[in-house]
Structures are given as structure tokens and as C-alpha cells.
């Protein structure tokens, strides 16, 4: 168990001047579950691999516990990693796969057996200990990869998109399992994913990365409710937050010819207005909406359409008729205003900004 401190870390690949990971600073508390999330190529895997020691650290410093690990071999960093394709040794039995790292560390044989047995019990792998990985299903292989990490009893677990190769249903159950296991072991974890749902459900704190930089750090609900930029707003949450070109004029938000009732403070000028699809309700007066297409998901319906010529998605209950959605009003305090050029959040005071403070942080 240990904290992990990432101090102004950058990655510059040889033969390039651009920073694939730029100036990342992140302090991870002991036992915390951190999820790095972002689109492909945002540097999240690179950052994880720098913590693991599989990539050199170009600038900055990484400490695990109090020890600087920049020059420490992966084997001596006291970490365990779970890979996307599991990276199990195909010629070794499940038992040997889990025991290999311990054998290399000259852990006494009885202790190896005890730890493997314990991990197998925890992961329900008992009946498969003498099988080869190829005789296992994807979910079971994933468990073996986790088992290999657990038996090491490391200071930190590093997960590199461990669920991407599983089918959707299995992914959901493995997600819960990883979460439960991490809470039980209390091991500091860094988890990389591009799946925002995985990120939301697993994280104690989420780190949203874009183009090698941190866009926002926060609990999943903080990030959901107060995205720091248009990038975060569109990346976290499904369907993605609606982003509309708007204008502040006379303490009112104006979208094309439509004017929102909610008074806003702030300098007049162009802004980007964000509204989540579930924060819009049919109303008697409000934005006029032209429905275009409907996706029925069973529990809810997604209505795609246009407001003042700009695309907008709306979530309604299956009972609501689309014809009733000609006019829309945002729920109180549901407006997010962003700077049009930089995309950064503008904290404008809106009159109804009285969203209850939710008990965030502990998640499940």
C-alpha cells in the first residue's frame, strides 16, 4: 500500500519535439482508485506505463510511497499490472502464471502456494489452476491476470484497459468485481480506460485527459455535474452533453432567435451553452425544438432534433409523446456555460443555481 505522486511528468518520444504527455501533476492517496480516461491517443496509457516503468520518464518525477522510482526497474517498483490482452504466459498453467513473479522473487514455496490458493479462492479460479490459459474463456483469463497481480501483494495495481476484450455483459460484471476486489484489498489502483461508463462506475477520482494534458480531476459526480471544459462535457455522460453556440445579451442566453428565460450574469458575447439531454423537459414555453429521429432504448427514448438549426438530443421517458416536445425548458441550474474559444467553463451565476450538493466521492 502506498500513495503515488506524479510530479510534472512529461513524455517526449525520441525523434519528436511534441509532448505526448505534458506536465501531468497528480497525487494519488493510499488506497485510492484513480481512473485515467480519455480518447485514444490522449496519453493515458503512456502515463500508466511510465508509472509501471515500461516507458522512460522524460521529465518530472514519479514517487511510489516516498521513493523516487524514475530509474527503478519495473520489477522493483512494487507494482502489478493487468494488460488489455491479459499477457498470460501461454505455455504455463494458471497456477504457474500466478506463481511466476513470486518464484522470480525467491518467495518460499509454501508461501507461494498459500498466496496462489488464496487468490484462486477469491477469484473462483480453483477448478482451473492446472489448465493452460488457452483452455479458459475470456473472463477467466481476465481473472487469472488479476490473480497474477493480487498474489504479488503490490503497493499499487495498474490496469491498462483490462476489460476491452470482453463482451459487453461480462464487462459489466467484471467491472463490479474489480471494484469490490479493490475495496477489499485496499490497494492503490490506477485504471486506464476509454469507456466513460467504466470510468464513472469505478473511480474514486476521475482524471480526464486530452492530448496529453489533464482536463479535469474530480469525483465522477463532480465531473458529471461540473465539467471543466467542453471536452469533458462531451466526453463524460451518454448521450453526450448538447453543446450549442449561444450568446449572452442583456443578462439572457440567446440561441439563434431563441431566448432562455434564465437570467445569467456575465459579460455579453458569444459563449458555448451546454445542456445534458436529460436536463431538458417539455414545457409550455421555452426553446422551440424540431424532432428529427427517435431512438427507443426501452427504459428511455432519445429524441434527436434541432434547436435554432443546431443539433440537440433529448432524453424522455417512454410515456412522453414526442409531439409534446415542441417546446423545451432546461431544469433549474442545469445550464453549463463555456468559453467559445478556449472551451473552459465559465462560472456564471444563474438565478436557479441551487442544485443540491450531492454526497459525492464514495460512489458505490
Amino acid at each position: 500500500m502506498a500513495s503515488i505522486d506524479i510530479e510534472n511528468v512529461s513524455k517526449i518520444y525520441p525523434g519528436s519535439t511534441a509532448r505526448s504527455v505534458a506536465d501531468i501533476a497528480l497525487n494519488i492517496k493510499d488506497g485510492e482508485f484513480i481512473v485515467l480516461v480519455g480518447p485514444s491517443g490522449c496519453g493515458k496509457s503512456t502515463l500508466l506505463r511510465m508509472v509501471a516503468g515500461l516507458e522512460d520518464i522524460s521529465e518530472g518525477e514519479i514517487r511510489i510511497g516516498t521513493r523516487r522510482v524514475n530509474e527503478v526497474e519495473p520489477a522493483h517498483r512494487d507494482i502489478a499490472m493487468v494488460f488489455q490482452n491479459y499477457a498470460l504466459y501461454p505455455h504455463m498453467s494458471v497456477r504457474d502464471n500466478m506463481a511466476y513473479g513470486l518464484k522470480n522473487r525467491a518467495v518460499p514455496r509454501p508461501e507461494i502456494e498459500a498466496r496462489v490458493a488464496e487468490a484462486a479462492r477469491m477469484l473462483e479460479l480453483g477448478p482451473y489452476l492446472d489448465r493452460k490459459p488457452r483452455a479458459l474463456s475470456g473472463g477467466q483469463r481476465q481473472r487469472v491476470a488479476m490473480g497474477r497481480a493480487i498474489v504479488r501483494q503490490p503497493a499499487a495495481f495498474l490496469f491498462d484497459e483490462p476489460l476491452s476484450n470482453l463482451d459487453a455483459k461480462l464487462r459489466v460484471s467484471m467491472r463490479t468485481e474489480i471494484r469490490r476486489l479493490q475495496k477489499r484489498l485496499g490497494t492503490t489502483s490506477i485504471y486506464v480506460t476509454h469507456d466513460q461508463l467504466e470510468a464513472m462506475t469505478l473511480a474514486d477520482r476521475l482524471v480526464v485527459l486530452n492530448a496529453g494534458r489533464i482536463e479535469q480531476i474530480g469525483t465522477p459526480l463532480e465531473i458529471y455535474h461540473r465539467p471543466a471544459s467542453t471536452f469533458v462535457a462531451s466526453f463524460i455522460g451518454a448521450p453526450a452533453m448538447n453543446l450549442l453556440d449561444a450568446e449572452i445579451a442583456g443578462n439572457r442566453l440567446r440561441i439563434g432567435d431563441e431566448v432562455l428565460d434564465t437570467p445569467v450574469s456575465g459579460a455579453a458575447g458569444k459563449v458555448t451553452l451546454g445542456i445534458r439531454a436529460e436536463d431538458l423537459m417539455p414545457a409550455d414555453r421555452g426553446l422551440s425544438f424540431t424532432p428529427d429521429d427517435i431512438e427507443d432504448l426501452g427504459a428511455q427514448r432519445l429524441v434527436h432534433g434541432f434547436v435554432a438549426g443546431q443539433p440537440l438530443t433529448l432524453v424522455i421517458s417512454p410515456a412522453t409523446r414526442v409531439e409534446d416536445c415542441r417546446r423545451l425548458a432546461p431544469k433549474p441550474g442545469a445550464l453549463h456555460v463555456f468559453d467559445t474559444l478556449s472551451g473552459a467553463r465559465l462560472d456564471l451565476h444563474t438565478e436557479h443555481d441551487s442544485r443540491p450538493v450531492l454526497p459525492v466521492g464514495q460512489g458505490l
Binding site: A52, G53, L54, E73, P74, A75, H76, I79, A80, M81, F83, Q84, N85, A87, L88, Y89, P90, H91, Y100, G101, N104, R105, P133, R134, R148
Partner: protein, 280 residues
């Protein structure tokens, strides 16, 4: 899949005959006496002389010194074949390991240099090789026979391609598991390469077994003669009205066939097992 027609069978039968007949003729002819062969030519039917011929070939001390037997020559060929195969596999695996897993300057250039030597046949460098061995005093030794031919571009190339297909994550997992370069090679790469090793072993053993020119240059002592030379030797004995020992030559040729066949059969079962059971 189309239905199998009688015509398909016909083609297959013809192909099989084409391949098997020469071998069958060799086996059958070797069971006749030399005089019989000289008079009647090749034969497709067994003669009555088989056991005698084969025991003569294996135990008769022939040659100029009267010291070398068929068994001895067979052993020499085996030493050559096995030495070739094992040595080449060890050497080319290590070379490929260095090329793929270690970052050093000119690695790619070196690989291409090695690769181009694939194009050069042994005969091109046979004189310099001979001279080096002669000056090292290694003529008429097994070392001299085997060592100069051990560097194998083919083997290095095969293993390089194979190592490149091993997922990087395995190396990374092993690094995190505390395996250094030597451990990774022995614990992970070697077991994974089993099928490749079997394939290269077959190729290299047969290559070594069939060597003719190089052993002929390197050895003058009959105790180092290989089977391939022995066959030639028998046919050269044409003294006076003596008929060459055709039967013995055929018997030796048949004997020369057996070890490669055995090797292929043994490793093929391994090979297929490895292929069908392989991961993913």
C-alpha cells in the same frame, strides 16, 4: 468444398506413384545381388539377398584402409546432422534474440547483412572456410566439419520473424514479474518457440545430413567419412572385371534415407500438435 470425384483419386494416385516408385525401386533392388542387378537392371520385386547385403554394408570394413563400416559412416552422418541442427538452432536463436529484443546501434543494418548472406550458397565461401580450418589445424575433426557452417541466416531469419510475432505485453509482463533477459529467454521465449525449433531442426538436420562437398573437402581420413561419401566410394571401386556393388550402394542409400525420415516423423507429430493447440 466440391465432391471428391474418381478423377481426384486418379490424380492423387498418380502423384503418389511418382513419389514412391523410385524409393520402392531402390529398396527392392537393394535386395538383389550385384550380378543380378548388372544383368537384369533395376527391379520392382524383392530378391533373396536383402539381409546379407544390409549386414555387409553395416559391418563390412571397406575403403582403402579397410577400417570404415557402414555403421561408422552412419554415425558420422548423424554427428554431422545433429551437430548442425543443434548448433544452428542455438546460434540463430541467440542472434535473433539479440536482434529483436535489444536496442543497439545498426541492429537493422546487421539484420540485413545477415539476411543477404542467405543469397550466398556455401560454395561461394568454401575456399576461404577451408583455408581457415586448415590453418587452425581442424581438418579431419568433427569441430572442423561442423563449426564453420553453424552461422545460419535462414535460422536467424525464421526465429527473428517468430520473436517479432510474440506480443510485447508478454515481455512487459515478464519484466514486471521480475524476469531479466536470461530468465525471459529461458522461461518464456524458449517454450513458446518449441514448434519453430522443431521446424528448424527438421530443415537443418536434413541439410547437415545431406552435406557432400564440405565433408569431402574437410576430411581425408576414412574414419570421418559420411554416408553420402560412402555411396560414392562404393560405385568408384571398378577394379578389373569386378562389378560395382550396386546392391550395397542401394542399401546405403536406403539407410541414408531412414534417419531423416525418422526425424521428420517424430517432429511432425510435435509440429502438428503445437499448431492445433496453439493459443488464439
Amino acid at each position: 468444398m466440391n465432391k471428391v470425384t474418381p478423377f481426384d483419386h486418379l490424380v492423387l494416385i498418380l502423384g503418389t506413384l511418382l513419389m514412391v516408385t523410385p524409393i520402392a525401386i531402390a529398396v527392392m533392388t537393394s535386395t538383389h545381388t550385384a550380378a543380378d542387378i548388372h544383368v537384369n537392371g533395376l527391379s520392382l520385386l524383392p530378391g533373396g539377398d536383402g539381409i546379407e547385403t544390409y549386414s555387409t554394408v553395416l559391418t563390412h570394413k571397406g575403403g582403402f584402409t579397410g577400417q570404415v563400416t557402414g555403421a561408422r559412416m552412419m554415425m558420422n552422418s548423424l554427428i554431422l546432422g545433429l551437430g548442425f541442427a543443434v548448433g544452428k538452432i542455438v546460434l540463430s536463436m541467440l542472434a535473433a534474440y539479440a536482434l529483436v529484443y535489444f536496442r543497439f546501434r545498426f541492429a537493422t543494418a546487421m539484420f540485413w547483412v545477415i539476411f543477404t548472406t542467405l543469397l550466398l550458397p556455401l560454395e561461394v565461401r568454401i575456399m576461404p572456410s577451408y583455408q581457415v580450418m586448415a590453418e587452425l589445424g581442424l581438418l579431419n575433426t568433427y569441430t572442423g566439419l561442423i563449426v564453420p557452417l553453424l552461422a545460419s541466416a535462414t535460422g536467424t531469419f525464421y526465429f527473428r520473424q517468430f520473436f517479432k510475432s510474440v506480443p510485447d505485453e508478454l515481455l512487459e509482463a515478464a519484466r514486471i514479474d521480475g524476469a531479466g533477459p536470461v530468465r525471459f529467454f529461458i522461461d518464456i521465449l524458449l517454450p513458446l518457440s518449441r514448434n519453430m525449433i522443431a521446424a528448424v531442426f527438421i530443415i537443418m538436420f536434413v541439410y547437415g545430413w545431406n552435406q557432400y562437398l564440405w565433408p569431402m573437402l574437410m576430411t581425408t581420413e576414412e574414419s570421418f567419412f559420411t554416408l553420402m561419401r560412402g555411396i560414392k566410394q562404393i560405385l568408384q571401386v571398378w577394379i578389373g572385371s569386378q562389378i560395382p556393388d550396386y546392391n550395397q550402394a542401394f542399401a546405403l542409400a536406403v539407410l541414408a534415407l531412414l534417419p531423416p525420415v525418422a526425424i521428420v516423423v517424430v517432429f511432425q507429430s510435435w509440429f502438428i500438435k503445437g499448431l492445433t493447440e496453439s493459443d488464439k
